[in-house]
């Protein structure tokens, strides 16, 4: 039976709940094992270091890499910064050109933008309507000064997965480093950088049922041996690439989250795909004029991004946000009034971008929750369309593109 008031969390791409099994492994490291993993001369330090080492192995096992290739950070944003700025500074003598994509996370885009002040040249690849990049365009963009290609594994807003192996092959052919922001993918689908040819990979714990405040950067140590210039100076932790006392409880939890993911992600993905498909099918069959955004064949199994035509996303969310957490591509809350740049990059009109809702399911999402969401969404969309003058005009057969809208 559904408990009232029911609260359903379908915003797992923003952050996931911490798995209780993860919390259990972390607890001792707050009080019983309080040591600093860098303290080499007493048992408190040793047991903290053991905890960190074990977590590093758990994470390395999830990615099929060497534990020495994992650098702990505070999260994916820091990992993205360290990878891109670190490569740029380390390989500056080889070139200054970086290639990335318009639909990347701001942690990548703003970092690249910042580097232009230091002399970097950035190429932003466009995506097609389905959210995928054009491989020929990528290859054509590579030149003698190119030092890095940065392409996210799976998009946070649409769940669209880029052709990683093909990109890896192109980078390999041209001898260019390949970095990926894999924040949304790690722990939810196989992400093996060595098989793909990814040399640096940023990811974070709190998108894979671990705690917030801890992330990692995979940095390849063999063929090629990659180095990044540290962005944080201090005690020389993490092989000198990232100074700062390690977040021991967070890292221990991150490790446990990685272990659970390794063992359960395939079953989770299979279950969530069925649930996501049911959510999509119910919504699109019970409501007219719904559009799924992004390539439906190349995307994460737990995500769907749907535009409900002539309904504004934030207003729609208000009809159910006491009970349901989702996310909208509308930016009515921001001062800019610009809708999601990711959806606009897919070629959606601003109106459809303003009408979008992202549903991201997770390990703890149940069948009855999905059914509850479908009913609430259908009622909300119908309510908002009853209120919508443009829905009325559309129903009357008015061509909205011919209407003289007032500038505002």
């Amino acid at each position: 039976m559904i408990k009232e008031p029911m609260r359903v969390y379908l915003d797992n791409n923003s952050t996931t709940p911490c798995d209780p099994r993860v919390v259990d492994t972390m607890v001792p490291y707050f009080y019983q094992k309080p040591g600093n993993s860098a303290s080499r001369n007493h048992p408190f330090g040793w047991e903290a270091e053991e905890g960190v080492d074990y977590a590093r192995e758990q994470i390395a096992a999830l990615l099929k890499v060497d534990p020495k290739e994992i650098i702990f950070t505070s999260g994916a944003t820091e990992s993205d910064n360290l990878a891109i700025k670190g490569v740029f500074e380390m390989y500056r003598s080889k070139g200054n050109h970086i290639i990335t994509v318009t639909t990347e996370h701001k942690a990548v885009l703003d970092t690249c933008d910042k580097l232009t002040e230091a002399g970097a040249e950035i190429t932003y690849l466009k995506v097609a309507e389905d959210g995928l990049i054009d491989l020929a365009e990528l290859e054509a963009a590579i030149k003698s000064t190119t030092i890095l290609v940065s392409v996210m594994w799976a998009n946070n807003e649409t769940g669209v997965i880029q052709p990683m192996k093909e990109i890896g092959n192109i980078c390999d052919k041209h001898g260019v480093l390949f970095m990926s922001d894999a924040t949304q993918a790690v722990g939810k689908m196989p992400t093996y950088p060595k098989e793909i040819g990814v040399h640096l990979m940023a990811f974070t714990s709190h998108k894979m049922y671990g705690p917030k405040g801890v992330g990692a950067l995979y940095v390849s140590r063999k063929s090629p041996r990659v180095k990044v210039t540290a962005q944080m100076d201090g005690g020389g932790h993490e092989r000198g690439m990232r100074s700062g006392t390690l977040n021991v409880p967070g890292i221990v939890g991150f490790g446990k989250a990685a272990e659970i993911a390794r063992l359960e992600m395939h079953a989770d993905a299979e279950r969530l795909k069925k649930l996501r498909d049911r959510l999509e099918h119910e919504l699109t069959s019970r409501l007219e004029e719904c559009y799924i955004n992004g390539n439906v064949d190349h995307r994460m199994p737990h995500v769907t991004n749907i535009s409900f035509k002539h309904v504004e996303g934030e207003g729609l969310m208000m009809t159910f946000n006491q009970n349901i957490a989702v996310s909208s591509g509308s930016a009515c809350t921001s001062a800019s009034l610009e809708p999601s740049y990711v959806l606009v990059a897919l070629g959606l009109g601003d109106d459809l971008a303003h009408s979008s809702i992202r549903f991201s399911l997770g390990r703890f999402t149940t069948d009855e929750e999905v059914d509850f969401v479908v009913d609430k969404l259908v009622a909300g969309v119908n309510h908002m369309r009853d209120l919508s003058p443009i829905w009325e005009m559309y129903k009357e057969g008015v061509d909205l593109s011919n209407v003289q809208w007032s500038e505002h």
Binding site: G315, S330, S388, E392
Partner: protein, 137 residues
Amino acid sequence: MAYSEKVLEHFQHPKNVGTLDKSKSTVGTGLVGAPECGDVMRLQIEVDPSTQTIIDAKFKTFGCGSAIASSSLATEWLKGKTIEQALTIDNMDIVEELALPPVKIHCSVLAEDAIKGAIADYQSKNGIAVTAMASSH
């Protein structure tokens, strides 16, 4: 961001949602905003020509909760007012009544523009000199 009680009340129970017959000479329609901006407001008034009093007001709005609440409130305020009185409604009155945060002030501006647009439409339909134009915000 939490919404004020008044915004929630208007959002959950909007007043005067609907459509008036725009072909009638006594009806004025204001359509403001644009789908690309995420806000479209249509506000209509019906005027008693003998007294220049607004006897009915309806709206439909595509937008966020604050935009819907602003237009719902505007229609409530318009009913029973003369055209002259209606023209004195200022967007800041709406901001104050609904306790709109700074990022939502544009919703109240849109509502004021919709009121002025509806009045101007009524006036021009009836050969009356248009007394106020929608502000260009």
